[in-house]
C-alpha cells in the first residue's frame, strides 16, 4: 500500500527534479560543510585532477608506453627536463628502455584507477548483495555469511588477495593474458573488501525489515528482491558511499601492492605499482626519477581520496553535528 503511495508521491517530483535537486544540493548541509573545509576542497580538486589526467592519458601523453615501436634505446635513462642532461620532450625523464616516465605515469594512473574502481564495484555488489540476503532472510544463511565475514576479517586484505591470485594462477596456469590478469586482480580485490559493505547493509536491513511499510509491501505481494532494492537500498546510500570512497583508496593500494610484489599487472602493461617495482631497481644507480614520480602520483592519489573519504564520513555522520 504505502509502496504505491511512495511512487505516486515521487512521480511529479521526478519531473521537475533537475533544477530543484541542484538547488536542494546547493542548500544542503553537505555542500555547506564542503565549502567550509579547505582540506576537502583541496582533496576534491586533486582527485578530480587525477581522474582527468587518467581519462585523458591517451591524448595528452607524449608517447604510448605500451607500444614497443615508440621506444628508442638511445633515449634511455634520461633525467627530468630541469636537469642539465634532460631532453625534450621527456619532462620527467626516461627509464632504461627509453620509455617516457610522464607517459608511463599517466597510463599507470589510468590503469590503477580503472582496476581500483572495478574492484570497488565488484566488492560493492558482492557485499551489498550478501548483506541484503543475510539481513532480509536471516537464519542459517545469515549465520553462514556473517561467520565467513568474521573469519575473513581476521586476515589482512592483501593476504586474501595474494591467496586468491595464487590459487587462480595454479588453477588456470600462469600463462594468462593481460586482460585476464586485470580481471583476476579485480576479483581478488573484490573478494578482499566485501565484508564492510555486507555488515553495514545487513544491520540497516535488520532495522528496516521490522518497519510497517516493508511489512505492508510484503502483504500486497511485492516480491522480496523488489522490496529490498526499492525500499531498503536507498537508506544505505550514505554509508555505502563513504565505504566505497575509502575502499577506492584501499583498492588502489592493494592493486599497487600486488603489482609491487610481482603478482599484479605485468611489466608490459604497468600500473603505478608495477612502475614502482621496476623503478625500485634503479634507486641505487641514481635514476631516482623512474621510481619517484610513480610513487608521488600514487601517494597523492591515495592521500586525496582518503582525505575526501574522511571528510565525507564526518559530514554524513549525524552524531558529529
Amino acid at each position: 500500500m504505502s509502496a504505491r503511495m511512495d511512487d505516486a508521491a515521487e512521480a511529479p517530483d521526478a519531473q521537475r527534479a533537475t533544477p530543484s535537486r541542484l538547488a536542494r544540493f546547493l542548500g544542503s548541509d553537505l555542500w555547506l560543510s564542503f565549502r567550509r573545509s579547505k582540506l576537502a576542497m583541496g582533496a576534491f580538486a586533486v582527485t578530480l585532477l587525477m581522474f582527468g589526467l587518467a581519462f585523458a592519458a591517451p591524448w595528452i601523453s607524449p608517447q604510448n608506453p605500451y607500444d614497443p615501436a615508440q621506444l628508442e634505446l638511445l633515449n634511455s635513462n634520461l633525467p627530468p627536463l630541469w636537469n642539465p642532461d634532460g631532453q625534450s620532450p621527456f619532462l620527467l625523464g626516461t627509464d632504461d628502455q627509453g620509455r617516457d616516465v610522464l607517459s608511463a605515469v599517466l597510463y599507470g594512473l589510468r590503469l590503477s584507477l580503472i582496476v581500483g574502481m572495478l574492484g570497488v564495484v565488484v566488492s560493492g555488489f558482492l557485499g551489498i548483495g550478501l548483506g541484503l540476503v543475510a539481513g532480509y532472510f536471516g537464519g542459517a544463511l545469515d549465520t553462514l555469511i556473517m561467520r565467513v565475514a568474521d573469519v575473513q576479517l581476521t586476515f589482512p586484505a592483501i593476504l586474501i588477495a595474494l591467496v586468491v591470485d595464487g590459487v587462480a594462477k595454479a588453477s588456470f596456469g600462469s600463462a594468462l593474458d593481460t586482460n585476464a590478469t586485470i580481471l583476476l586482480i579485480v576479483v581478488s580485490i573484490g573478494l578482499s573488501f566485501w565484508v564492510q559493505y555486507a555488515r553495514t547493509v545487513r544491520s540497516s536491513v535488520m532495522v528496516e525489515r521490522g518497519k510497517d511499510y516493508v511489512q505492508a509491501a510484503r502483504l500486497i505481494g511485492l516480491s522480496s528482491p523488489v522490496i529490498m532494492v526499492r525500499h531498503v537500498l536507498p537508506n544505505v546510500t550514505g554509508p555505502v558511499f563513504v565505504i566505497a570512497t575509502i575502499n577506492l583508496a584501499l583498492a588502489i593500494i592493494t592493486e599497487a601492492t600486488l603489482s609491487f610484489l610481482g603478482t599484479g599487472l605485468p611489466e608490459t602493461m604497468p600500473s603505478l605499482g608495477t612502475l614502482i617495482r621496476t623503478g625500485n631497481r634503479f634507486l641505487f644507480s641514481g635514476e631516482w626519477w623512474v621510481v619517484a614520480f610513480p610513487g608521488i602520483a600514487l601517494a597523492g592519489l591515495v592521500l586525496a581520496i582518503n582525505l575526501l573519504g574522511d571528510w565525507l564520513r564526518d559530514a554524513l555522520n549525524p552524531k558529529l553535528q
Partner: protein, 326 residues
Amino acid sequence: MLAFLIRRLAQAAVVLAVVGLIAFAMFRFAGDPVNQIVGPDTPVSERAEIRKSLGLDDPVLLQFGRYAGNVLRGDFGISYQFRQPVTALLAERMPATLELAFCATLFALTVGILMGVYCALRRETVLAKLFQAISLVGVSLPTFLIGILLIFLFSVTLGWLPSYGRGDTVRIGGWTTGFLTVSGLKALILPSITLGLFQMTLIMRLVRAEMLEVLRTDYIRFARARGLTTRAIHFGHALKNTLVPVITIAGLQLGSVIAFSIITETVFQWPGMGLLFVQAVQNVDIPIMSAYLLLVAAIFVTINLVVDLLYTVVDPRLRTSVGRTA
C-alpha cells in the same frame, strides 16, 4: 572464567578448522599436484601410479582427514620449488619474521602511545597538529612506498643503514637472532619502522581519541576536585583507563603485523616467512601457500585468545563479572 575460556577455545578451533579446509582445498584442487612432481612427458600410466601413491584417488573426506592428521603432526608437505619439507623451510625463516614483528610492534606501541598522549593533552599545539598530519599520511601511504622512501633517504642518500637483509646473525639452538650483532640491529631499524608505521598511526589516533574521551569523564573531574596533581590525573588515572581498550586493538594488530610483513620483507629482501610466501605465490608453490595461511591463522587465533585473557587481567570489572559470579 573456565566457561569463558572453553567458549573462546571452541571459537578458535572453528576458525582454524575453516581455514584448514580452505588450505586443504587449495592444496588438493588448485592445479594438479602430479604435474608438480613429474615432467610434462611422463606417460599416463606412471601418472596414475603417482596419483594412487599420493592417495589422490581416495574419497575427499579421507584425504582431508589425512591432510589434517599430517598438519597436526607438523607435516605440511614438500615445497614444489625447493623440493624440501615446508615445515623445515618455515621453521628456518620464522625467527627473522618474529624478530621483525616484535621490533615493529615495540616501535608502534611506544611511539604511538607517546604521540597519542601528547596529542590528547596538548591538543592545540603546533606539534600535536603536525603529529595529526603525519598520522594521516602514515595511514594513507602504501607500506612499500614508505619502505622505498626510507631506503632512499637512509641507505642511498645518507648511507647510514643497510637496505636489505638481516645483517650478521647468531645461531642459538634452532633460532637465528639479529639482536646480538651491531649489523643485525642496524638491519632491523628500517624494516621495523616501515612495518610498524601503519600500526603506530593507528595506535596514536586511537590513544588520542580514547584519552580525550576519558578526560571528559566524571571520575577525572572528581579526581581534579580531590586536588590530585595534574600528573597523577593524566598519567595515573586518564592514561590507565585509556590503555584498557588500546590493549585489545594493539594486541590484534600484532597479528596483522606478522601478515603485513609480507610486503616489508619483500621491500627489504628480509629472509622471513613473508618473503617465502611471496615467492611461493609467484611460483605457484601451493604447499607453502597453504601452510603459511594456516600458520598465520593459528597465530591470529592465539593472539586473540591471549588478548582476551589479558583484558580480564587489566580490567577489574571483567575479572569479577567473569570470575566471581560465574
